[in-house]
């Protein structure tokens, strides 16, 4: 394959997928938004190799990925911190790395965080589905998760790599605190539930995925029993299924939900969830949403 504008997957890791900015705009058809879970890391990886932010990258999970480049190019690894090597020689993380044709790029197991992003100059150019190349694990749209032997075409290089040695990135704290804006269904829960959410600590369950992060910890008692009529759900929704422990909806989340959503994460905190590995302690900081001046109960409601 040397000479071809593509990358070959040599080791897929537990779960590596192609991701870009996702396919928002189709939720009314039941199509999840999908897309990179740690969007700032995805955008940074693209910027480092000279791609526009919408170019597709590889999103890894815990154990990284190994690929071989057909042609010489630039790569960058961002997100979860992991050792990077090119043909066995250490290379920089969160920096543009020049890779000769035929060289092997290894992203090892993440030492901090959960999901690394591997960008290639030109971007991964698998066919787009509904405007996106993202793998959607809920509905099966987009390319299948990567498997050994897959060959992914690369697009044309559009710009030069970023003129930086190493891009500054935030550090990941031992315990993650997530701001949660109450609503739309906080009134289905007791005052105690809101206090519990604000004060208690949770842990990321191993039953978490790109669809949602399941938490272990105290249950949130309901004030209103019964069932909610199916309603649209947003990215970052903190939904409380029958068992009472919350689930945070990530990019591949179902478009509709029938369990009440007690609150929604501040969008700036979504990357923290994307990088929270199973066992990671999670705290919530409850924020009252700004009141809508015009909240109105019309006659008959």
């Amino acid at each position: 394959m040397t000479g071809e504008r593509c990358v070959e997957v040599l080791r897929s890791g537990v779960l590596s997928t192609v991701q870009d900015l996702g396919r928002p705009g189709h939720a009314h058809l039941g199509v999840p938004r999908s897309g990179a879970l740690d969007l700032p890391a995805h955008r940074l990886a693209n910027r480092l190799v000279g791609n526009p932010p919408g170019a597709a990258t590889i999103e890894t999970t815990v154990t990284g990925v190994s690929v071989r480049l057909g042609r010489a190019g630039t790569v960058a690894v961002t997100g979860a911190w992991a050792p990077v090597t090119v043909d066995g020689r250490p290379a920089s993380w969160s920096a543009p790395v020049s890779v000769p044709a035929g060289a092997r790029v290894d992203v090892a197991t993440a030492r901090r965080g959960l999901r690394s992003y591997l960008a290639f100059s030109g971007g991964i150019a698998v066919p787009a589905v509904l405007g996106s190349r993202s793998t959607d694990l809920l509905s099966g749209l987009g390319p299948a998760p990567l498997a050994v032997g897959d060959r992914l075409p690369l697009g044309e290089v559009l710009g030069p790599p970023a003129p930086v040695d190493v891009a500054p990135t935030g550090t990941l704290a031992e315990e993650v605190t997530l701001r949660v804006l109450l609503g739309p269904r906080a009134d289905w829960f007791t005052d105690d539930a809101v206090r519990i959410l604000d004060r208690e600590s949770y842990r990321v369950s191993t039953l978490s995925n790109r669809i949602g992060v399941r938490l272990e910890g105290p249950a949130l008692p309901r004030r209103i029993g019964g069932e909610l009529r199916s309603e649209g759900v947003v990215l970052g929704a903190v939904q409380v299924p029958a068992a009472g422990t919350p689930v945070i909806f990530l990019a591949d989340h179902p478009t509709m939900g029938g369990y009440p959503v007690i609150g929604v994460l501040h969008p700036a905190d979504l990357p923290l969830v994307a990088q929270a590995a199973p066992g990671k302690p999670i705290r919530f900081q409850v924020v009252e949403p700004r009141p809508l001046r015009s909240q109105v109960l019309s006659p008959g409601s």
Partner: protein, 249 residues
């Protein structure tokens, strides 16, 4: 009507009648098409709600909606989709029993109304169809199937639906269609979008279809059992379901 903030950039608008969701969606599309909903990414009808996501200024929209009346914007009739059905579903006998009719009657009852897609969810292209008279509403199966084949024509709660692809599911299966409901490489990708009208046509029926007397069909009363609305809800939401197909991560 109640307007509830959802995070920083979305609103959930609750209406009092299921029919009002279509009127509200039509109004929102009108504003969006005139460039008056800046940033909006999604307008998603639910059973009694419309979610508007991706708003630059949710408070501004909330103010505008405060004076909105459902009667003011009658939703246009959506396109009509005819669905050819073979009434050969695995639950045909059970549905006939629940309705207290002969098996041959099930297709006539199911095919009599004109349905409307109230909202979509569960899977790309899965529409929740309203229009079946209440006396024919059915609970979900007590034990969901792990695999329902694509094209299965089904009922649960107050809704009719068609599975766009193989998936787990707990709805009662009446029959099957060859119609491809969702194809990302086709335009339109989804046949059943909110507002679309739907008719089912029995492909096995003889040419004497005109002899079917709908009144006759409707007169047969299946007693109104617990229609199990809540079960219908379970259909699309449970992340536990989702976990089964999953990979650690």
């Amino acid at each position: 009507m109640r307007i509830i903030p959802v995070g920083l950039r979305a609103l959930l608008v609750e209406v009092t009648e299921p029919a009002h969701t279509a009127a509200l969606v039509a109004q929102l599309h009108g504003w969006r098409d005139r460039g008056e909903l800046v940033g909006v990414e999604e307008v998603v009808p639910g059973e009694l709600t419309v979610l508007v996501d991706g708003l630059d200024d949710p408070a501004e929209l909330a103010g505008r909606l405060a004076g909105w009346q459902p009667g003011a914007a009658r939703p246009p009739d959506g396109p009509l989709v005819e669905v050819p059905v073979r009434y050969d579903g695995a639950d045909l006998a059970e549905v006939a029993r629940l309705w207290d009719v002969a098996e041959e009657e099930v297709g006539r009852i199911h095919g009599a109304p004109e349905y409307r897609v109230a909202f979509c969810g569960f899977a790309p292209g899965f529409g929740y169809l309203t229009g079946l008279p209440e006396r024919y509403h059915l609970p979900r199966r007590a034990v969901p199937r792990t695999r329902v084949p694509a094209g299965s024509v089904a009922l649960a709660g107050g809704y009719a639906g068609i599975y766009p692809r193989d998936s787990p599911g707990g709805w009662q299966l009446l029959g099957s269609t060859d119609l491809v409901l969702f194809d990302p490489d086709r335009d339109p990708v989804a046949l059943l979008t909110p507002g679309t009208r739907v008719r089912f046509r029995n492909v096995d029926a003889n040419l004497d279809a005109e002899n079917v007397d709908v009144r006759d069909v409707d007169r047969r009363d299946a007693d109104v059992r617990d229609v199990g609305r809540r079960d219908a809800d379970r259909q699309d939401v449970d992340v536990r379901d989702v976990d089964r197909r999953d990979v650690a991560g």
